[in-house]
């Protein structure tokens, strides 16, 4: 039975909530139960944002998770706050462009993706670190199919400029390739 609890955290402006939404839509398109739940309110005034996405084959009860199985940290404060909460055996995906600290837990699978650097390198520094991370995540662990993620991107960017969609597809590719080819 499929059941993923994914926590995504970082600065506001890093597209944390969007990344979560794309994941959730992809899960929905595949016919799973999904939920998306953001941090909200003055917490965001501090400049951080996070959200929890659950993709499951069972009706979803709680939409938050105190022990996420997958945790994506896009900056250092999030790393310190959330890395300790990941479920033993879980996956910690770290944006190493912004997180210098090293994870000392031995019971986690850690995937390091220098998303900002990849963006600079391959995408003129465009603000798509979130989608790069998504590509990397899906390449590492097929929570949803890559093509579902692509359809989800299309859906979530509906009404936006075409260019943006193309850019995000590229970013997905960059992340994906980074993992496939060598992370």
């Amino acid at each position: 039975m499929k059941h993923h609890e994914i926590l995504i955290a970082g600065f506001g402006g890093q597209g944390i909530l969007f990344l979560g939404r794309v994941l959730a839509v992809a899960g929905m398109l595949e016919g799973h139960e999904v939920s998306w739940y953001p941090s909200y309110g003055p917490e965001m005034r501090g400049g951080t944002a996070n959200c929890t996405v659950i993709i499951s084959d069972e009706e979803i009860g709680a939409t938050i998770s105190d022990r996420p199985g997958v945790c994506i940290v896009m900056n250092e404060p999030s790393f310190f706050r959330f890395a300790p909460t990941v479920q033993p055996g879980g996956l910690l995906l770290v944006n190493t462009s912004l997180v210098r600290a090293k994870c000392e837990r031995e019971d986690l699978e850690v995937l390091s993706v220098p998303a900002n650097d990849l963006a600079k390198l391959y995408l003129d520094g465009a603000e798509v670190t979130n989608t790069i991370i998504l590509g990397a995540l899906l390449a590492w662990r097929p929570i949803v199919q890559r093509e579902s993620a692509e359809r989800a991107l299309a859906e979530c960017l509906r009404g936006k400029r075409e260019k943006l969609y193309t850019l995000n597809l590229k970013a997905l590719e960059v992340g994906w390739e980074f993992v496939e080819k060598g992370a």
Binding site: R21, M28, G41, I60, G61, I64
Partner: protein
């Protein structure tokens, strides 16, 4: 029908528009701001009115005015804002004006915080304002149910000429889930011949919420009570799930209701005999159904995101026939599946066996 991933707050707003709501008056408060933000764009598109009021007090009385014209009208708020509406709600109930009020409640008391809570149960269900009145109170537990109950809320408001409160919480308002907007079919409603629209050629009318003569006011109250009894007979609603002959019956509404569903599932996997009773209408409370359902269980565990409010209605329903236990969190803390399950184990081990 197409599924859309939608935030609870936006879903309730869209459902309201589809249910024919054409006026919204409200004042910002977290965690329900997306309702007004959505409607500020959406209502003008359908020829409706979105107006940000100067306060919740003003908002609820704007609702009063618009409802008096027979229009479908809504407001929304959270804890402190809903407290400020209590006089207005009492007036709406007294004048028998239909309207829908959404409370995406948050941690209290006082300014409290903005995280999910269910501690406005008493206020919503017993009537936080003065006088012998009741709101119809609906408690959705998923975004889809939020949509469906929003349609229903407008229908019930018009059918019974009574304000309806949708009691959600910050989690339901903020989370996204897939929804479809199936327009429900309701039986036809009587014409709103009581609505104030200028006397035109006909006779003049008025809508007031006072009667200085005690006999007259008592009559109004008795009429209201008959309506509330009718509601109890006809509209009490709930959901059940799990073992048909449970040892422990879990009772919870809204967000907790869905968490309890996971608990039941998890518990059954472990071989426990558990079931869920989830009231969907909090007023009318499904007393009779719960009484039936409680027969033969060893104990009832009520779980709420407050410190024991619906608990009283559960106790009133089971009338001492079954021991009732309670587990609560408050202030924005959300109970977890594992915690509740542990509590159930504890009950089975100690309290009930002893």
């Amino acid at each position: 029908m197409e599924k859309i991933l939608m935030r609870g707050n936006e879903a309730v707003a869209e459902a309201a528009v589809r249910a024919g709501c054409r006026l919204y008056f409200g004042y910002p408060i977290t965690p329900q701001n997306e309702i007004s933000e959505y409607l500020s764009l959406r209502l003008p598109q359908v020829g409706g009115v979105f107006l940000q009021a100067e306060s919740e007090v003003a908002a609820i009385h704007m609702v009063y005015g618009a409802a008096a014209t027979g229009a479908r009208v809504m407001t929304s708020s959270s804890g402190p804002g809903v407290s400020l509406m209590q006089e207005g709600l009492s007036c709406l109930a007294a004048a028998e004006l239909p309207c829908v009020v959404v409370n995406m409640s948050r941690g209290g008391p006082g300014v409290g915080n903005i995280q999910p809570a269910q501690s406005d149960y008493f206020q919503a269900v017993k009537g936080g304002g003065h006088g012998d009145y009741r709101l119809i109170v609906l408690a959705p537990s998923t975004v889809q149910e939020l949509v469906d109950l929003t349609y229903r809320a407008f229908y019930l408001a018009d059918k019974y000429r009574n304000p309806v409160e949708i009691l959600g919480d910050g989690m339901l308002g903020q989370m996204m889930e897939p929804v479809t907007f199936r327009e429900p079919e309701f039986p036809p409603l009587p014409p709103k011949d009581w609505a104030i629209r200028g006397k035109g050629g006909g006779h003049r009318k008025w809508i007031v919420c006072l009667d200085l003569d005690p006999k007259g006011l008592e009559e109004l109250n008795l009429k209201l009570q008959r309506k509330y009894r009718l509601l109890e007979e006809q509209e009490a609603n709930y959901d059940t799930f799990g073992d048909p002959e449970p040892e422990i019956l879990l009772v919870g509404f809204g967000t907790v209701g869905r968490i309890l569903k996971s608990v039941v599932r998890e518990g059954m996997r472990e071989g426990l005999k558990l079931a869920l009773f989830r009231p969907i209408t909090l007023f009318p409370f499904p007393r009779a159904a719960l009484f039936e359902k409680a027969k033969g269980v060893k104990g009832i565990l009520v779980v709420e995101m407050n410190l024991g409010q619906m608990l009283e209605d559960v106790e009133l329903a089971v009338r001492g026939k079954v021991p009732v236990f309670f587990l609560g969190h408050t202030g924005g803390v959300i109970p977890t599946v594992s915690e509740i399950l542990e509590h159930v184990h504890g009950l089975l081990r100690e309290e009930i066996r002893v």
